[in-house]
């Protein structure tokens, strides 16, 4: 089923022509933003200079650092009065990244989600339980508005409290869920322990998973455990949130909406285009956003393009599932974490040494091992427990998730020399 059939099946020449037109409009719009204006003057690029798809390479890249430096609103392309919604990424001692939505942007984002939902057979008869975090995270509201557009009964459950999630599913006969892959596996485990067979007691048909890179095997595990179809989704706050790319019923790659985004796959080291079908870093240009479009945004996500046409008839090309990052960012329980954030918190605590180790295990367990400074030891067991809690609390405030903290003996962790291995990732996601 199609939400916007004409656009979704637009012939390539027309689609590419539309992209070019929207790209030029976006460059014109961005001339009002001092940050981009300066870059255009520097490189001598004007909207008219963009004559073909390849000309996008004449435009500057935009990075996460650019967003942080221009926080809170130096990248806004409309007046503040026209902004309807703000979403941000996590992080409190470092600067977060802010993304603004105009009324039209909110509606467009909802349309892209609606496309994705209809693509997999979701209709207004479905009951949609959104088990992703609401609040500043886009996974909540953006998905919510899209599901409402389709006409589903939307349950804004948010994450966690499996007991209550189950109750909602039983009482309201939830058919579709939006969930983290790691939580999906936990929930399946929870059901098993309770002796609830989802196939018999629940009405679940589909799950949309995202926000965490995961393997094909994990998808199949979730499908087997919960008795439903799992569809992979891709998105990032800077590009609206979820809904950038979605799997169709073929479940073989995610269609990326090319009327809204120009996609490039580059070699992250040389910044040159990657070869045909080669894995590289995904670079996205939002060509249909009003409040804060971004040019050639470096997502740091690694993927490859599928150029073959899809049997579903959609002409928007597909990307493979994300296989990794080209920086050291981690995603735990759907939350983006940089090891540098942890380092900043620890360095501000004299009772803790500077060396640390991040251990990721199971589906989403995160343990941070830190060293107790001998001078901070006063002999009291209680005080050490308190210190451990203090570190965990400070990390939670910075990371927006609470890791387990292990205080270990001074000198027992590997010393940081140059690019030290700070992260051991043994997860089976």
């Amino acid at each position: 089923m199609f939400w916007q059939q004409e656009m979704e099946t637009l012939a390539r020449p027309a689609l590419e022509s539309l992209q070019l037109e929207r790209l030029r409009d976006t460059v014109r719009r961005l001339d009002r933003v001092p940050f981009y204006r300066a870059k255009f003057l520097e490189s001598g690029v004007t909207p008219e200079a963009i004559k073909s798809a390849a000309d996008i390479r004449r435009l500057p890249f935009t990075t996460a650092a650019d967003l942080r430096e221009n926080y809170p609103d130096k990248l806004l392309a409309v007046s503040r009065e026209e902004v309807l919604r703000l979403h941000t990424t996590s992080g409190s001692t470092g600067k977060p990244k802010a993304l603004f939505f105009s009324r039209r942007d909110v509606d467009t984002a909802a349309d892209l989600i609606a496309r994705a939902l209809c693509m997999t057979g979701v209709t207004r008869r479905d009951v949609f339980q959104n088990m992703m975090s609401y609040g500043l995270f886009t996974g909540g509201l953006v998905m919510h508005y899209g599901a409402e557009k389709v006409g589903c009964m939307v349950i804004p459950a948010g994450p966690g409290t499996s007991e209550r999630q189950l109750l909602l599913m039983q009482d309201f006969r939830t058919t579709v869920i939006h969930i983290l892959p790691s939580y999906a596996l936990y929930f399946a485990d929870f059901l098993e322990k309770k002796g609830v067979d989802p196939r018999k007691s629940l009405a679940l048909r589909k799950a949309f998973v995202g926000a965490e890179a995961h393997t094909e095997e994990t998808r199949r595990n979730i499908e087997a455990a919960l008795g439903l179809e799992v569809y992979n989704s891709y998105g990032l706050t800077e590009m609206n949130g979820p809904g950038v790319a979605f799997e169709c019923e073929g479940k073989c790659g995610m269609h990326l909406w090319e009327d809204n985004y120009v996609l490039e796959i580059i070699n992250p080291k040389t910044c040159e285009p990657a070869g045909d079908g080669e894995t590289g870093e995904l670079v996205l240009t939002s060509i249909n956003r009003e409040a804060m479009p971004l040019l050639r945004y470096r997502t740091r996500d690694l993927t490859a393009l599928i150029s073959e046409p899809c049997p579903c008839g959609r002409t928007h090309r597909r990307i493979h599932r994300i296989t990794g990052r080209s920086d050291d960012m981690l995603i735990v329980r759907g939350v983006n974490i940089f090891p540098q954030q942890i380092e900043r918190v620890l360095m501000a605590m004299p009772q803790i040494g500077r060396n640390y180790l991040i251990l990721l295990e199971g589906l989403d367990e995160m343990t941070v091992k830190v060293e107790l400074s001998p001078a901070a030891f006063d002999g009291e067991v209680g005080h050490i427990a308190d210190l451990q809690n203090e570190v965990a609390e400070k990390l939670r405030a910075e990371l927006w998730l609470r890791p387990k903290v292990d205080l270990v003996a001074s000198g027992s962790l590997p010393v940081a020399e140059g690019k030290a291995k700070r992260v051991i990732d043994r997860r089976s996601l």
């Binding site: 001998p374 427990a385 205080l407 003996a409 001074s410």
Partner: protein, 142 residues
């Protein structure tokens, strides 16, 4: 002098850690009279009454351990029912709280090792009530 030095050592709560500490002490020819280990999750604190606390502490610190010396009171009691009770009652009457406490019996003498907030005061009170509060030297000679 009312107080006696007690050695406290931090280590991880996993096999081999206690052996590491005691091995170091053994090689330094330190004799342990009394020991408690309090563990909490992934770490533990060993408290040891040793014959040479300063040497023991420095040796462990030199080996990279987080070790420190705390002040405790060593009280001698008769080794019979009611003896510990009379010490506890005396401190209770003066509103003094027994924090970490352990005890040992050696050579027919029973010694209670008590951590309190104000060891000087507690020691004076116990002495006033006729209890034998041991000095550092006397504790080592038990």
């Amino acid at each position: 002098m009312n107080t006696v030095k007690l050695l406290a050592v931090f280590s991880e709560n996993r096999p081999g850690q206690a052996a590491r500490v005691t091995g170091i002490l053994a090689r330094a020819n330190v004799n342990i009279r009394c020991v408690t280990i309090a563990s909490s999750g992934t770490f533990g604190v060993m408290k040891l009454l040793v014959n040479d606390p300063d040497l023991a502490c420095h040796t462990l610190q030199h080996e990279g351990f987080a070790a420190t010396l705390t002040e405790v009171i060593a009280v001698e009691m008769a080794d019979k029912p009611g003896a510990l009770h009379s010490v506890a009652e005396c401190l209770a009457d003066h509103d003094i709280n027994l924090a970490n406490t352990s005890g040992f019996v050696a050579n027919n003498r029973a010694i209670l090792v008590v951590e309190v907030q104000d060891s000087g005061l507690a020691g004076d009170i116990l002495k006033e009530h006729g209890f034998h509060v041991l000095t550092q030297k006397e504790t080592m000679a038990v």
